[in-house]
Symmetry: C2
Subunit: 445 residues, 2 copies
Amino acid sequence: MPIISNVTVQDVRFPTSLELDGSDAVNVDPDYSAAYVMVTADNGEVGHGFVFSCGRGNEVIVSAIESYGELLVGRELDDLVADLGAASRLLVHDSQMRWLGPEKGVSHMAAGAVINALWDIAARREGKPLWRYLAELSPEEIVRAIDFTHISDALSPQEALEILQAGQRGKEERLRELEQDGFPAYTTSPGWLGYSDEKMVRLSKEAVDNGFDLIKLKVGGEVESDRRRMRIVREAVGEDIKVAIDANQRWDVPDAIEWLQQLSEFNPWWIEEATSTDDVLGHATIRKAISPMKVATGEAVHNRIIVKQLLQAQAIDVLQIDSTRVAGVNENLANLLLAKKFDIPVCPHAGGVGLCELVQHFSFFDYAAVSGSFENRYIEYVDHLHEHFAEPVVIRNARYQAPKKPGIGAEMHANSRAQWTFPEGEGWQEVGGRAAVSGAEHKHH
Amino acid sequence: MPIISNVTVQDVRFPTSLELDGSDAVNVDPDYSAAYVMVTADNGEVGHGFVFSCGRGNEVIVSAIESYGELLVGRELDDLVADLGAASRLLVHDSQMRWLGPEKGVSHMAAGAVINALWDIAARREGKPLWRYLAELSPEEIVRAIDFTHISDALSPQEALEILQAGQRGKEERLRELEQDGFPAYTTSPGWLGYSDEKMVRLSKEAVDNGFDLIKLKVGGEVESDRRRMRIVREAVGEDIKVAIDANQRWDVPDAIEWLQQLSEFNPWWIEEATSTDDVLGHATIRKAISPMKVATGEAVHNRIIVKQLLQAQAIDVLQIDSTRVAGVNENLANLLLAKKFDIPVCPHAGGVGLCELVQHFSFFDYAAVSGSFENRYIEYVDHLHEHFAEPVVIRNARYQAPKKPGIGAEMHANSRAQWTFPEGEGWQEVGGRAAVSGAEHKHH
């Protein structure tokens, strides 16, 4: 019986702040980073996982992953893999660690990375990419993986089971369809706040030429500037292309309503993170005020309990799950089923580093076995840093192509990790720690 | 001009799990701990702060405090102390660190400890305990310390100013009253879930003999056991003593309602943490169902944005602020003013280690300059681990007596910290790491 022999963590950071890729109204200078974990058993099996972050503070997530890792070392791998629901609860509900959240922030993300590494092993053992591994589990097995604590008033295990049983009908056909045509993508690459108008227009047109029918712009700097940017993008792409906007939690509720009223003439497809993602009631108020503009959020929603309330309060039109914010695959299964229960489409958040590679699996599984629909459903796509992964995402005809490699998609090349280990990796030596210095300078503004 | 020369952090833990002090339905074996920080300037000034935790994972908070500390080293102390609102925003809204929360969990608590250490220096400079230092600031200075981001729809700076201006009337009289008679306390010491019925009854009677008119029992183990415990305590203390109950987030919404209906005959004064403190809507549903029983929560509420919603949704009758969960003094000022705006009494959470010493300052300030009322207002009191602090709380006639020493009350004796530094302190050597081992064994159940 294989035993977990060690859990190793690396602090990997990319100096993206040098180019202002990924800049928005709140994240002005991110260095896209991964607190990267490998769970290794004494028979040589390895599972990969990570938490995405924006640079400074990645070392704190590393510390948290190490602490959760200690709870696993010495355990029998087969037991963990045989009941990934129990494995998740073991970490998430650890009686002492729970105080660190509960179920939120650094500790929750760290637990999620370790849990995901166990799912990675489970999927590798079956020789399947995660999405197919999940789609081929029985409804009962999926239900067993989910922690219904504090969501059972909105979604009981029985209701989840019924949703999944209904999802079995036509599944084989949908699996073939996914293998052949993939899943719709939208792109955020044109619209970073740090880009010039010219670059934004050029990239928007390129995106449309490449077949995208939904693109996204960052907003929330200055209202006049947002109006100008929306106008020139509208002029460049026409009325038939959907243009979503994203404020990255920049506004208070009254500001959001006022600002969005000034942008409504450009017909934004959705407004993303109009205010704090903790603010369920605020999102509901905004949604009512700006209808029929759609309201989207989720990338910073810290657990299924907030997702539940966003749905109960009719606060959102689009749920944007994130692959490394919550407690791993298990909690995103809960989120997908909650969304289905409330008939809200899931359009995952991606970008950063590795988020596209991970999160695509959830949409593929969602289509195969839960929602069965592409309607108003897209996976976010951003075109950088994919080259560092064992299986970079493939976009063809503006659609994610089905991942094929066994596992959850988290594996980053060993040499990429070594090169960009912070601060001692060669890559950081070569840029002379410039991005890190820029970070340090930021504090003087 | 003094410059911050270093920020040092200690991992201090007490082996409380050996005695089951502090045991409840969720926290079954806490080792009360402090991630303890000292912010030191090159002129020798030192500010103290800490985050309370339950043992395992304290090292993660230590790591987070170190990271926030790096943002302070080299800065001019006078600038920070002169504008503690700006100092708070510098840490809480750091553009890269923000991703770790935002404003929740490990990172938020860690930022709070560092911010509190700066308030400690500010109060020491004036030679005043925090509560009096705050009470003697002008309304404008208090407003300047508060971050209204994402709460301005419920409390604008102007409304806050008006509340504080109204609080100036009669303040001097109330300050004298506080100095003389202190602030009402309630006690949780009788009711830990790990205690025998006999011990619980004996401690309940002692509490009443000592003048307490509100005591609290932990519930949420088994409903029959809870009914028995409430019955025998009611019999022991009579009908005139208020008995609050605390489920520590043990229930889902439907369970909470059913369980509380079975306890209502014993007339509980409030039900605390009936469900997840993330669940604003769930608390509102429970409150409606069990009225007129009061609903209380707050010790695990991670920021002012959730507090705002609990109030907006009419989900609570009692707000239980915690001194080390949110981003320091600043955010608790926001919480006090939000509670006043919605006319909800604040009954702070305390216990653990050092939480009584810290949180009392907020109630004293609240009475002096915000609410001006003792009605339905109590500070929680638990009678252990006070001897480790430079100024242990003093309870007389079941009331907290006004703290006198300059600062925020966080300072723990250096020898206590050394003795209980985990794992190398002498104290831990003497108990043979037993509590830690008990923690490690927990994972096999």
